[in-house]
């Protein structure tokens, strides 16, 4: 190694530097005298005020690091001069256009996503059916337009539930969004419009959560809370537990909704990400109505709850 170092460096002498090398080498110092390279670092030839800098002699020997000077703002002189240096040399309008582009290109990104979280067939006791749950957003990092839709139906029948939401979403913190807007229920009959306010985001321990309050055009207040979690079994195989709770502040008999906890769903889906954007899955889901909601269902001759086998596709673009 030492031999190599000898070969690496030419022989011109620079005493201060040699001393420097002898004192500072992190490895055993090479027995060489290297030439001072006046071109390393800044060429300061055009800086007369630097000409009387202390000679590099002070460089030799061990020097302690200078501790950090105080944090301070720039001097008056630093604040002077033209605001944009290039404006003094180029067309001012060209520069203004370029600066607008620069600003846009460094942080102002508009993105969008369409996520079909669940598009599935449900095999259950009685009538088999299908369900969907999808959302899409477009916007910047903070403010986004958000659309959600979900619903379920039995094959060959009109949907038991079908709704769409149009929301403005505003980031509250790195993970959560405040969402406000409207929801329209096409089903069940009679149709309803709601005002929506909710919070959606990523909770600690990677739980995706979404909770919202709904005030209908008939003054009915209800709420919904959903949570899901992706347990990665392998890089592509993911087990997703999911729960949903629906609550209502009052009975709405014509829509089959009772006050209190009206309905819950709990599901377990195992998906395989062929690519991250496309993942078929299978799973089970248990849904149950409670309290007066269950009573309304029984009265209508419908099931109160039960298991479904589900198979579907999760996909996003």
């Amino acid at each position: 190694m030492k031999k190599l170092l000898v070969l690496l460096f030419a022989t011109a002498a620079a005493p201060a530097l040699a001393q420097h090398a002898g004192h500072h080498m992190p490895e055993p110092p090479p027995p060489v005298e290297a030439p001072a390279d006046p071109h390393a670092g800044h060429d300061m030839a055009d800086m007369p005020d630097m000409a009387d800098m202390p000679a590099p002699a002070s460089h030799a020997g061990h020097q302690p690091e200078i501790s950090d000077p105080p944090v301070a703002g720039p001097s008056e002189a630093a604040l002077g001069g033209p605001r944009n240096a290039a404006d003094t040399l180029f067309d001012v309008e060209d520069m203004a256009r370029a600066r607008a582009g620069l600003r846009k290109e460094h942080g102002a990104i508009t993105a969008w996503k369409l996520l079909v979280d669940r598009a599935e067939a449900r095999v259950r006791d009685g009538r088999d059916g299908y369900a969907w749950d999808a959302q899409a957003w477009v916007g910047g990092d903070i403010d986004r337009l958000w659309v959600k839709t979900e619903g379920e139906a039995s094959f060959g029948e009109r949907p038991e539930a079908a709704e769409a939401q149009l929301l403005w979403s505003h980031a509250l913190d790195p993970w959560f969004n405040l969402q406000a807007g409207v929801r329209y229920d096409i089903r069940p009959n009679p149709e309803r419009a709601h005002l929506v306010i909710g919070v959606q985001g990523l909770a600690p321990y990677w739980f995706e959560v979404d909770g919202a309050l709904f005030l209908s055009d008939k003054g009915e207040l209800s709420a919904r809370f959903e949570a899901e979690y992706d347990q990665r079994i392998t890089q592509r195989l993911i087990l997703q537990p999911r729960v949903e709770f629906d609550l209502a502040a009052q009975n709405v008999p014509e829509r089959g909704i009772g006050s209190g906890l009206s309905k819950t769903e709990a599901g377990l889906r195992l998906r395989y990400e062929i690519v991250p954007e496309f993942a078929p899955y299978v799973g089970v889901e248990y849904g149950r109505a409670f309290g007066d909601t269950a009573g309304f269902a029984r009265a209508a001759g419908e099931r109160v709850g039960g298991w479904s086998l589900v198979a579907g596709v999760r996909t996003w673009f």
């Binding site: 070969l7 030419a10 490895e27 390279d37 800098m53 590099p56 290039a86 460094h106 993105a111 790195p174």
Partner: protein, 566 residues
């Protein structure tokens, strides 16, 4: 030994070069499948007038062809070989249908020649030519690339070598320029779009249940620690944003299968000028079987230091000397920091020889140190505690974590290289070969906080994206200041200041290594001393292209301008 005599071997190498190698196409001749080493004049652009044409090209790697933006039709762009002390005129013609630019990375030049649209000049419009003219005041290994849009990701980058006017203190028989880069068949807007949709999209090495049960080397983290990371909504496997899931890693424009080969004669001292021209990839570079003697960092000579591996962040350059004595091939390995893939090339006495390609090492995992906890007890910590935030940091949506105790990590070799069983370069190993020029102590400290939110893929300085309309960082002409970079995020950030060199405060006062780009490790605190000697406006940014694009960018203003001094 006289270095001039040593150059006889170079002339021999040149003679080999003249015989040429048959391949052509999209590679510049010096980066063709085999290269005897430089000094054949054809492949290289030299002289005082250099003509560069930016245009669309097709690029083929791994048997697949995609769209590239190239200079003079080749990827990487032609080697520009300059001579210190001469004035150069670089004529850049834009044959695209959108604006372009070329930034001369690491070059000391007047600000209006620096090539950053919106900062130094208006950019180069389609079907126009801009001439960059400046005296060459330095020597060493540098590079150039587009500063417009995301063209750099599409192939718009190339090397610069400047020969010194004085005898080179580094003696060598033969040299090879090694341009490392990352290539994706996805359009760069697709890359950023995917990351905005899902921050961890390209990470296919996440922690899994199966991994935990089988206990592979990548899964050593115990359940309570996993839970702690989960509680913070931080992924300890988030090492690289864009990975081999989409990237092919290139050496001189060649994929691992194309295997670029550089020739040597056993016993020769071979100078490798290694440039990381990637958009998003930090590499671990090694040549199994050959020690690497680092002689230059970012184009500036350092006291030689022998290592077996080094991490090279995006936009850094290292020159190393290797001296293969045996008549056999050696594999150059440029492993991506997350170990999802590697760039591969060969050093061999003759074309067609190969050496074994090592398999990828286990993916590293972030630690408490990367979290900026230093040696602190982490009980009850809150990585998003606004009260811990320095006043200049705007803790909002874009700041997912605040490091409570960032530490000096100049003695660390870089993520994943703490225990690889051989010598790995650290910044603390680097010492300038010549004494630092400006010995004035810095008069003030300027702190810059590196902040981000992986979930929304937001990156910023001091919690504010450039697009939010931020003030420049201002210096008075010739003032001496210390800039302290504090990394609150969980990723490494290679930070680059245009138009200047600065001295990395690494314990070797008076001989600080002189650099243009520094990699700040997660939870790290890195200081550099700056002589603000270049009047004008300069870009200052994270050199991970998509971090810059997401907002990790500032303008540094240095006043007064020449001519308006009082």
């Amino acid at each position: 030994m006289n270095p001039l005599i040593e150059r006889r071997a170079l002339l021999r190498a040149g003679a080999i070069g003249a015989t040429g190698l048959g391949l052509s196409g999209l590679f510049p001749a010096w980066a063709q499948s085999g290269s005897p080493g430089l000094l054949s004049t054809l492949p290289t652009l030299v002289g005082e007038d250099i003509h560069l044409k930016v245009a669309h090209s097709a690029f083929t790697v791994g048997g697949r062809t995609g769209h590239a933006v190239t200079v003079n039709g080749v990827l990487p762009a032609p080697l520009i070989r300059l001579k210190e002390g001469r004035t150069v005129r670089l004529h850049v013609e834009n044959a695209l249908d959108k604006d372009t630019s070329i930034h001369w990375h690491g070059m000391i030049l007047p600000f209006q020649m620096d090539g950053v649209p919106g900062v130094s000049f208006p950019g180069i419009k389609p079907r126009t030519t801009f001439t960059h003219e400046f005296p060459v005041r330095q020597n060493g290994t540098y590079w150039y690339h587009s500063h417009s849009g995301l063209q750099e990701q599409q192939g718009h980058y190339g090397p610069i070598v400047i020969d010194p006017v004085e005898p080179d203190p580094v003696a060598w028989d033969r040299e090879h320029v090694i341009v490392l880069s990352d290539w994706s068949f996805l359009h760069p807007h697709q890359l950023i779009h995917k990351l905005k949709q899902q921050g961890g999209y390209f990470n296919r090495q996440k922690q899994t249940l199966a991994g935990m049960l089988t206990g592979g080397p990548e899964e050593r983290m115990r359940a309570p620690e996993r839970a702690m990371w989960g509680g913070m909504r931080m992924d300890p496997t988030d090492i690289a944003d864009v990975t081999a899931a989409t990237y092919t890693y290139l050496v001189n424009g060649h994929g691992p299968r194309e295997n670029w080969t550089g020739l040597f004669r056993p016993g020769e001292r071979v100078r490798l000028r290694i440039i990381n021209a990637s958009a998003m990839t930090i590499f671990n570079f090694r040549i199994p079987g050959l020690p690497l003697t680092v002689v230059s960092a970012d184009g500036q000579n350092v006291c030689p230091v022998e290592v077996d591996e080094f991490q090279i962040a995006v936009a850094e350059t290292y020159d190393v000397i290797v001296q293969p004595a045996e008549d056999r091939a050696f594999t150059l390995v440029a492993e991506s920091i997350d170990r999802s893939g590697l760039g591969r090339a060969t050093l061999a006495p003759r074309m067609g020889m190969t050496a074994p390609v090592p398999s990828l090492r286990p993916r590293p995992t972030l630690s408490m140190k990367d979290m900026g906890m230093g040696g602190m007890d982490h009980g009850g910590m809150d990585m998003h505690d606004k009260s811990m935030a320095p006043p200049q940091v705007k803790v909002g949506v874009g700041v997912a974590s605040i490091a409570m105790a960032p530490v000096d990590r100049t003695g660390d070799p870089g993520l994943g290289l703490d225990d690889v069983g051989h010598r790995v370069l650290t910044y603390r190993d680097l010492m300038s070969l010549t004494p630092n020029r400006d010995t004035r102590p810095p008069a003030r400290t300027v702190e810059v906080h590196l902040t981000g939110n992986m979930e929304r893929f937001m990156w910023s300085f001091d919690g504010q994206k450039f697009s939010e309309g931020v003030e420049p960082i201002r210096f008075e002409l010739n003032e001496r200041a210390r800039v302290v970079l504090l990394n609150h995020s969980m990723m490494s950030h290679p930070i680059h200041l245009h138009g200047h060199f600065f001295e990395v405060v690494n314990g070797h006062a008076g001989s600080h290594p002189v650099k243009h780009t520094v990699n700040v490790l997660p939870g790290g605190r890195l200081a550099f001393d700056l002589t603000a000697d270049a009047p004008g406006d300069w870009a200052f940014h994270c050199h991970l292209l998509l971090h810059m694009h997401a907002g990790m960018f500032r303008v540094v203003s240095i006043r007064p301008l020449a001519g308006d001094a009082a």
